[in-house]
C-alpha cells in the first residue's frame, strides 16, 4: 500500500477512535470554556479590564487546554502495542506520526477554534478583532500539537512523565503565546499586525517540517 494510503488510514483510525471515546474531545474543550468563563467571575464586572486582557486569557487557556490533551496523543497506542506496529511499518515513521498529530489537532485544537469567537464576545472583545483571533488560533494551535508531540514522545515511556512534559514543552510554547496574543491585542487597537502573523506562519511551517522527525526518533527510543 502506498504512503498516502497509510497516512490517511492513520488519520482516519485516530478520528474514529476519538469519536468512540468522546472524552478525548470533550476534556480540553470543557477546560477551555470553564477557564475563560471563570475569569470574569474572579475579576468582577470591569468591562475595560476584561477587554484588555481577553486575548491573553483566551490564548493562555488554549495553551493549557492543549497541554492537557497532549498525553492522549501516544498513550493508548503505547500501552496496547499499536505504537510498535506503527514504527515497524516500512513507511517512514515521521510521516505516520505526522498523521497522528494532524488527527490529534483535528480532535483537540479545531473545537477550540469553533467556540473561541463566542467566548471572545463574552469577554467583550471588539468584533473586528475576532477574525484575527481565529487566524492566530488557526496558525498557533497546530504548532502546540506539533511541538507537544516531541515532548510526549520523549516522556510516554516514563511512569510519571506529566511534570517533565510540562517543563519540556511550556518554554517552547512561549513564542507562540507572545506573538499570537500580541497580534490580537494590536488588532483590537487597530494597529497593523503583518509582522506577528508572518512570524506565526513561519513558526507553523517550521514546526510542520521539523517536528515529526524528532518525534519519530523519540518514540523509537521510548519503546526500547
Amino acid at each position: 500500500m502506498s504512503l498516502s494510503h497509510a497516512f490517511f488510514a492513520i488519520i482516519r483510525r485516530d478520528l474514529v477512535l476519538a469519536l468512540r471515546r468522546r472524552s478525548e474531545i470533550a476534556n480540553p474543550l470543557l477546560f477551555f470554556i470553564l477557564v475563560i468563563t471563570l475569569f470574569p467571575l474572579g475579576i468582577g464586572a470591569q468591562p475595560n479590564l476584561l477587554q484588555a486582557i481577553a486575548p491573553g486569557i483566551i490564548w493562555v487557556s488554549a495553551l493549557l487546554a492543549a497541554m492537557l490533551s497532549l498525553d492522549s496523543l501516544f498513550r493508548s497506542d503505547f500501552d496496547d502495542g499499536s505504537l510498535e506496529q506503527i514504527l515497524l511499518s516500512p513507511h517512514p515513521a515521521s510521516i505516520l506520526v505526522l498523521g497522528k498529530i494532524i488527527a490529534h489537532w483535528l480532535v483537540t485544537g479545531l473545537p477550540l477554534l469553533i467556540v473561541a469567537p463566542l467566548l471572545a464576545i463574552f469577554l467583550g472583545m471588539p468584533t473586528h478583532s475576532l477574525g484575527i483571533l481565529l487566524l492566530t488560533l488557526l496558525l498557533g494551535t497546530p504548532v502546540l500539537s506539533l511541538i507537544g508531540a516531541i515532548g510526549v514522545a520523549l516522556t510516554v515511556g516514563l511512569r510519571r512523565g506529566g511534570m517533565i512534559l510540562s517543563l519540556l514543552v511550556l518554554p517552547l510554547y512561549v513564542p507562540v503565546l507572545i506573538f499570537a496574543s500580541n497580534a490580537v491585542d494590536m488588532a483590537s487597537s487597530g494597529l497593523p499586525i503583518n509582522a506577528q502573523i508572518n512570524i506565526l506562519i513561519s513558526i507553523l511551517f517550521m514546526a510542520l517540517v521539523l517536528a515529526p522527525w524528532p518525534t519519530a526518533a523519540a518514540l523509537k527510543m521510548s519503546i526500547n
Binding site: 492513520i10 515497524l88 511499518s89
Partner: protein, 207 residues
C-alpha cells in the same frame, strides 16, 4: 529465468547487557528460508530482549544483525518482517475488520485477503465485532491474522501461544508450518515445545 532471492537473517556476536547484567554475549546464528529459530531459556534470560533487537527496537550492546547481508535499519527489512509481541497491538475500540484494515494500510498486501485471513484464524464471523468484546485467545488470533494479510518473510513471535487453547496452538503450528513451507522464516520464543514435522528448527538456549 528469474532466480528466487535467497533470504538470510544473521546475527553476529550479539550481546545484550541490562542493568549491569550480561544477558547473553557472543551470540551467532544464521537463519535461512524455511527455517525456524526457537529461543529457549528461563524468565529474564533475554529472550524478549533478543527479539526486540531483531525488530530494531533495541540496539545490541555489541554485534550486528544482518538481513540479506545488509543492516536491518533500512526499510526493506521492515517490508519483509512482521512482529507479534506480548502486547496484541490492536485497538479495543475498533472492530476486528477496522484493525486489520489499518494493519494492511501500514504494510503491503500479502498472501491472503482480510476475509481469508480471518477464516484462517477462525474469526470469520467476527469481522464487525469490537475487539473489546473478544476473549484473550481471540485477540491473540486476531493479532496473528495480521501476519497472514500482510506481505512478509520473517515472523518474529514473542510467546505466540499465550492464552490460546489446544486447538488454537495446533492452528498456529499449522500456520507456521505453511509459512515455512512457502519459503518464510520464523523466530519465536515459547515455553511450549513446538511440534513442526519436517521443518528445520534451530534452538538457542539463553540460560
Amino acid at each position: 529465468m528469474e532466480t528466487k532471492p535467497t533470504h538470510l537473517l544473521q546475527g553476529s556476536q550479539l550481546s545484550c547487557i541490562r542493568d549491569d547484567r550480561i544477558l547473553f554475549e557472543g551470540l551467532d546464528f544464521t537463519l535461512q528460508a524455511g527455517q525456524v529459530l526457537l529461543l529457549e531459556g528461563k524468565n529474564g534470560s533475554g529472550k524478549t530482549s533478543l527479539l526486540r533487537i531483531l525488530c530494531g527496537f533495541r540496539e545490541p550492546d555489541a554485534g550486528e544483525v544482518f538481513w540479506c547481508g545488509g543492516a536491518i535499519n533500512d526499510s526493506q527489512y521492515y517490508a519483509d518482517m512482521a512482529y507479534v509481541g506480548h502486547l496484541d497491538g490492536v485497538k479495543k475500540e475498533l472492530t476486528v475488520m477496522e484493525n486489520l484494515k489499518v494493519s494492511l494500510a501500514l504494510g503491503q498486501s500479502g498472501q491472503y485477503s482480510i476475509q481469508q485471513g480471518l477464516t484462517k484464524v477462525h474469526l470469520a464471523d467476527y469481522d464487525d465485532v469490537l475487539v473489546q468484546a473478544l476473549s484473550a485467545g481471540q485477540k491473540r488470533r486476531l493479532s496473528l491474522a495480521r501476519l497472514l494479510i500482510t506481505k512478509n518473510i520473517v515472523w518474529i513471535l514473542d510467546e505466540p501461544f499465550t492464552s490460546l487453547d489446544k486447538q488454537g496452538i495446533a492452528l498456529i503450528e499449522t500456520l507456521m508450518f505453511e509459512h515455512c513451507a512457502s519459503g518464510g522464516m520464523i523466530v519465536l520464543t515459547s515455553h511450549h515445545d513446538i511440534d513442526l514435522h519436517g521443518v528445520d528448527v534451530q534452538r538457542i538456549n539463553l540460560s
